[in-house]
């Protein structure tokens, strides 16, 4: 079998696909030392991360570099949270960094991972506990900061999809000291007062520290215990806080969260109208069908000439009468003739006839007729019947 050679592009694409699909590599935490660091004029940072015996290329896009709380320099020990992927053109795999921190501050990452694994083992992330987001919530609750783009985006998207939407904002601090208690309390309060049919917990992008309240256990448990289904949207699309793992549904952005919570009203109106159309059409078809059947019946001659049928019956009856009469008279004649011939035959054979011609019938004393001389002997008393009477006689 001659081997089919694949192109370089295809090979790189294949490798990239393989790596992108690896869950672990999507959200990896690495530590190492920065070397040949370049802060590109575009604002992106290019560098390599190395340890004693190997190195890996890294890139940090401008949107993330804004959140660094230190200026990276060659030789610095850092910890990086990012995604490993392949830059196909050069056939190079590298880390796309989302957050970076001087290694001295490693504790947040370890805490993140420890809590994540602990809650995961406890089953707080399992799909079986995820509640269904209501198809048509009467009230949408939003837990986010009172000011800023998040609540504005959510309101804009929601009202666009449903001009008559009912949104209840329960303001919470989304970063800083003690924010986690306030967020957890707000979730409990929302449940106690049943303020909404679905809750959106959201905050904009930020550094690991900014998002930290949403990685706290107290918030994770509050979300887990919430009776009201929760959609979370914390940080950038590529950030995954523990709140996102526990929530019933995770949205990449606040606007996406609004789209998941609020159905597009015009679509629902269209759907309802479509149903009404279907009903009318179906009924019309059914009526049409029945009308045709009715017409077909009416066309049949039974209705158009009702008497026809009866007349036919009359004719039939007459016919039958006629036949009856003929048959009866035939039967009568036949039986009369038969009777006549029988009578005449009887006549000829009747013993009376022979008597009239001078014969008589001899019967013994026991009544049996004597038809041979051997049946009688001298002195027997016998009876003789003449055409006009009987006499007794003795044989001599």
């Amino acid at each position: 079998m001659e081997y089919q050679a694949i192109t370089v592009t295809k090979l790189n694409q294949y490798i990239k696909d393989k790596i992108d699909r690896d869950e672990y590599l999507n959200n990896i935490l690495v530590k190492g030392e920065i070397s040949n660091f370049k802060h590109h004029y575009t604002g992106h940072m290019y560098f390599t991360l190395k340890d004693e015996n190997s190195l890996i290329k890294c890139i940090m896009f401008k949107s993330y570099t804004a959140h660094l709380n230190f200026v990276p320099k060659d030789g610095m020990k850092v910890r990086i949270l990012g995604t490993v992927s392949v830059f196909e053109r050069d056939g190079v795999y590298q880390i796309y960094c989302k957050a970076m921190q001087e290694d001295g501050l490693g504790d947040l990452y370890t805490k993140y991972n420890e809590l994540k694994n602990k809650l995961e083992l406890e089953g707080l992330f399992d799909d079986v506990h995820k509640k269904k987001i209501p198809y048509m919530p009467k009230i949408v609750g939003v837990l986010t900061s009172q000011t800023g783009a998040v609540i504005r985006d959510i309101i804009n998207v929601s009202t666009r999809r449903n001009p008559n939407v009912y949104i209840r904002l329960l303001p919470v601090p989304v970063q800083g000291q003690g924010a986690e208690e306030k967020i957890a309390d707000a979730i409990k309060l929302a449940n106690e007062n049943r303020i909404a049919d679905v809750l959106i917990i959201a905050r904009g992008g930020g550094s690991l520290e900014d998002l930290w309240p949403f990685n706290e256990e107290i918030v994770a448990r509050a979300i887990y215990e919430s009776e009201i289904p929760i959609i979370s949207s914390v940080g950038h699309e590529t950030d995954f806080t523990i709140a996102d793992f526990v929530a019933d549904l995770r949205a990449p952005t606040p606007s996406a969260a609004a789209e998941l919570a609020v159905p597009e009203i015009s679509e629902i109106y269209d759907k309802i109208l479509a149903f009404e159309k279907r009903y009318k059409l179906d009924l019309k078809k059914k009526l049409e069908l029945n009308r045709l059947r009715y017409e077909k019946c009416m066309k049949s001659r039974v209705f158009s000439e009702p008497l026809l049928h009866i007349n036919e019956k009359y004719i039939e009856i007459d016919g039958i009468n006629q036949e009856l009469r003929i048959n009866i008279s035939q039967i009568l004649n036949k039986s009369r003739n038969e009777a006549i011939s029988l009578i005449s035959k009887l006549d000829t054979l009747s013993p009376l006839k022979t008597l009239t011609r001078g014969y008589c019938i001899a019967t013994a004393s026991d009544g049996t007729t004597i038809n041979s001389i051997h049946n009688i002997k001298k002195e027997d008393i016998i009876n003789l019947r003449f055409k006009d009477g009987d006499v007794g006689a003795i044989i001599n």
Binding site: Y135, R152, Y166, N193, I195, I265, I272, E276, K286
Partner: protein, 77 residues
């Protein structure tokens, strides 16, 4: 059909009625009855949508009690 069924169930019911009408087993009277049932239900649904009224509010808790006030985004105030 309990009155309190939620909106989603009503929409599912609308779909069910459409299918029943379409599968053709119903005679004329049953179809008429199903038709009326469907139209009544769809009116109910549109009524729910029409009656909804835009409300954007903010909940302020003072001492555990929740007070609800109209919420104006920054650019609206």
């Amino acid at each position: 059909m309990a009155e309190k069924t939620n909106f989603e169930d009503k929409m599912k019911e609308l779909e069910k009625i459409a299918q029943e009408l379409e599968n053709g087993e119903l005679n004329l009277d049953e179809s008429m009855k199903k038709f009326e049932e469907g139209m009544k239900l769809s009116k109910e649904c549109t009524k729910i949508l029409d009656e909804a009224e835009k409300k954007i509010t903010i909940l302020i808790s003072d001492g555990g009690e929740l007070k609800e006030e109209e919420y104006k985004t920054v650019d609206e105030t």
